[in-house]
Symmetry: C2
Subunit: 221 residues, 2 copies
Amino acid sequence: MRSAPLNSVDLVLCTPHGRQLAVLLVRDASKRARERWSLPWAPLAAKQAPEHTASGVALKASGARASWLEQAGAFTDDKRHPGGAAISVAYVGVTPARARELPDGAEWFPVAKLPLLAPRHRAMIDAAVAQLRERMDRAPVAFRLLAPMFTLSDLQEVYELLLGRRLHKASFRRALQAAFLVAPTDEWRSEGRGRPAQLFRYAPRKRRGARGGVRFELLGG
Amino acid sequence: MRSAPLNSVDLVLCTPHGRQLAVLLVRDASKRARERWSLPWAPLAAKQAPEHTASGVALKASGARASWLEQAGAFTDDKRHPGGAAISVAYVGVTPARARELPDGAEWFPVAKLPLLAPRHRAMIDAAVAQLRERMDRAPVAFRLLAPMFTLSDLQEVYELLLGRRLHKASFRRALQAAFLVAPTDEWRSEGRGRPAQLFRYAPRKRRGARGGVRFELLGG
DNA sequence: ACAATTAGTAACCAATTGTTACCAATGTCA
DNA sequence: TGACATTGGTAACAATTGGTTACTAATTGT
């Protein structure tokens, strides 16, 4: 019987943490001094769809279902995996910020302040965060980072966090209005100071088929 | 000695073919009646970066280097691989349309008229084409589908092919001008009828840092 | 009551994009 | 040779979108 699995499914689970994006890491008891943290992972089961495995890893490591999950690629190069896997299939997931406690040994780390990790896990996190940023205008990533009910300021904060730059309130809301993505609810939330904010939910409606010309967003290279 | 490799690298190589995108398939001699075509692939070598393997597959199957190559994900589900691989890492590549002959047993197929393929290969092609469309505004995919020198009408045709819709000539060129992505050359090409067109080359210059607000391009779901 | 703070919107102006229309250079065909 | 069909290329105007300023609203703290 082998002790090291051949292939693995590794998960980069993200959540908003203050004004930063945070990643879930688990304490890795089997490791020596240096690398005490790692991404949650599981051996790849041949008989199970890898998304299903990733989904299970998310549940076990964070205590809740991931609200969005997508493959982020295969990592097979020389960078070694903590469990000795040959091929590691990485998944990106998101989950709303919660007050609830995490399972033992798991902790959120802001992406800017990660501890020392196995090189393969570093590469996965970089790829996962990049993929989140690219996917946000195709998939409802931003909405899945929030609870089902949210204020427009919450939503704007998530967009700013993912885009890495500030947005103008009026422009943001005008664009959101035009996109028919959210619906107001009857509820309001008071954060202490300031006027209470109305709560919205994600409720995408119609859609005028992909308008606009080309955007040459390409940098050099 | 095992006859079937455990893991594979599979390549979806694309090129413009008339007004359609075409994919390179190779005749699979080892197969029985039904599935006579497959994507070019190779076993995954543990000691070699998988991109390198993919690059070699492109060279062997098409007779030329791929001008752009990127991983398109890992495919591991129940859909079986022609070579019996457990995990298949798919790569998308592009190459300019050429008059030159293909190596024996290889052929371009328009994506709309594919022959019967292994389910895993169908899934890879779908993912690869989708990825091409998504990447084109981040990576110079469109330019790599063209020869080093091209007319602006050629370029527009590639954009239309990838976007799946017609673009306005004047708007397209104005946007292109503003993006500083191409430089004119001294050469001109005459296609027979009509005024000769000036040839351009891809020469990305400066870049004003990511302007603009948010675009909620999100559909339903 | 009033300052401070956060939510939300109107309205103006600048920039971008869609469109129409035109001129230029070539091959075709009477 | 001289329309004219065909493709390349651009100017200029109209419509739309996006950035910004500035305002009003509703709440807490002093």
